[in-house]
Amino acid sequence: MIFTEAFLRSIPIFVGINYQSMAKKKGTTTFSIPDFTQSPRIDKVGVEERVSRFQKRSIKKEAKMQGLRMALNMIDLTTLEGKDTPGKVKQMCFKAAHLHDVHPGLPTVAAVCVYPSMVATAKKEVEGTGIKVASVSTAFPAGQAPLDVKITDTKFAVDAGADEIDMVISRGKFLSGEYNFVFDEIAAIKEECGKARLKVILETGELVTLDNVRRASDIAMYAGADFIKTSTGKIQPAATMQVTYTMLEAIRDFKLKTGIQVGMKPAGGISNSKLALHNLVMVNEVLGSEWLTNEWFRFGASSLANDVLMQIMKTETGVYQSSDYFSID
């Protein structure tokens, strides 16, 4: 076995020390890493019941408008395809800053999310707009690559100017019970990120149970995630409200235990305004309004923006407009 520098850095004892010093830097008390096999159990039936309560909230008038504007401003506008080209990415970046210019005063999206090879292009396009560039990494979406490849992948994206890194966890290792491996890998990538904020994708559609979602959330946060994210968008089901709710509870418990605030990003499947508003209601009631900014909450979506725009125009004019009035990217 070859002991690379990165591998050595990922040994738990170093991770623990690094992590505790990081926690201290944030002005909070130090804490120990829990036994992840003891992560809280989740009752699916109870979760479904709780989620239905959020779905029954009726968001109208000013509250709806405020919610829609918040949703727009929380979107990570995403293109993650094998056929992505600089041409496509440039157009998407323009859309990110000019969502619907016939209606002045709209916010921009939070970030654009691309593959590492497109980061440089995206970075140049969004310059001066305040829009962040997020890059997927660590052999996205499967994550079936050795750690040194994942580190190189991440380094490439960060060097190209990515403000945020969306990594995937090793689901195979997680499902075979190698929680330390998953933890160490996340910690190693976190180190590689430097100033870039790290979003950790759990790919909940492959973890299947809510117990697993909770455990993976705990591992990601203790290993240094700035955000936890549901899905790659390549696997169904993706960001169901049940999964997002389970992750929000994990974030709340982590904040209570460590004092560290972690962000949330549901991604995949949130394609309309109603779902987005239900998600915001859920964040508001589970975590509180501190999370209702794009610093702490994001939607990973490609088609959500236009539906929100359509709803905003409907709310203002009283009539629905054809989708042809909203640019597709």
Binding site: P40, R41, G46, E49, R50, K64, M70, N73, E285, E295
Partner: protein, 485 residues
Amino acid sequence: MAKKNEKINWEYAPAPESTGHVNLKEQYDLFIDGKWVKPDSGKYFDSTNPANKKKLASVAHANEKDVDKAVKAARKAYTNIWSKMEPSERAKYIYRIARLMQERAREFAVIESLDAGKVIRESRDVDVPLACNHFFYYAGWADKLEYAFPNREVSSLGVAGQIIPWNFPLLMAAWKIAPALATGNTVVLKPAETTSLTALKLAEIIEESGLPAGVVNIVTGYGDTGAAIVNHEDVDKIAFTGSTAVGKIIQKAIAGTHKKSTLELGGKSANIILDDAPLDQAVEGIVNGIFFNQGHVCCAGSRLFVQESVADQVIEKLKHRMNSLIVGDPLDKNTDIGAINSKEQLDVINSYLKIGQAEGATMYQADCAVPSSGYYCRPTLFTDVAQSSRIVQEEIFGPVLTIQTFRTVDEVIQKANNTPYGLAAGVWTDKGSRIFNLTTKLRAGVVWANTYNKFDPTSPFGGYKESGFGREGGLHGLEAYVKLN
């Protein structure tokens, strides 16, 4: 980008359910023998909206003579028509009532919220659909009674006198009327004085359904009206849901008579959280257990037992959850907790809040805004209470929870059973074996595992000890309305 530390405040705009489609008369008479008749006394009382104290309608106050008229009509209908009718024909009438209720579900839900103060989310999603389902369910039994009681000869009882409470007005009317009709009995029903309106709307539907005159009679009034029903010599069966104090009076009154009875009375039910439970879902179960319907639930999980090793965590989570509850206008679709049913009940609850504090318990109330007019009570919990505290022993019937801790399963079983009541209990654990251990040892009519306050027409409901006797709902609910030979 939003700036750091920018304070976001996302308040939900009001989303009131409209009342435009609701058809309420200014004055309601008594529904006797298929007709609306004026009360003998000529007296009416007001039914008010507890959320704003405004009058909704005046309602007739029935006296002994009116009750006598109603019982005679029920007897006549029983003897001449209902007991002789083919069971499958009876079923058709009951189905028809269920369908008519469903068609007007929205109107029923709004009136229930106006009259009782309960939130529209619950009257719309729980009370009215469940009430309809009770009629549907018992309609199905009407012509299958011989299968319900194999090898027995089944016959009806006669006239059933039914007295219902104010916490689930329409639902309780359905619980009472549906099985009585399915088994071939006729009915004289008295709703509670603060919540007569949905029972009267149900009378309108019964009239519309073409049910033979006198099969269901609805007499409104106070305790004296109820007493007249209980003491009437031609009533064969008393079905009562309400307080244990009144239940005892009824039992004394009918002692030595031929009257059969079922009583569904008070409760002080234990909700037990074990250390391996899914805690966030358990917290939700605690909230549903005690704050559902403002805590006006006979089976409310009002005594919370939390295993000591997780108590701090559960209480912290519970307080957090309580602070996200919205207390306010019952008609607003976003309201979680509505108005207390009446001034009298609010006074009772407030007196218990004082008792609790005087006993040295620590009181915590959610820091939510509460409307200035109307009868409201913040969701409340008491810690530092003991098994011997009055607030732990007595039924408060409001959004007030007491929290005790325990160390072992045996200890919690003893404490949970150490009460004169025995209506319901809840158990929260990840382990199936613990569920079975507890559910067999808890002396309560209903024990929920990893959920609370779930109702279904197919499931029997009723109490141990001073929580009453007899079962309502399901196959067991039929037994209370039949003679078996």
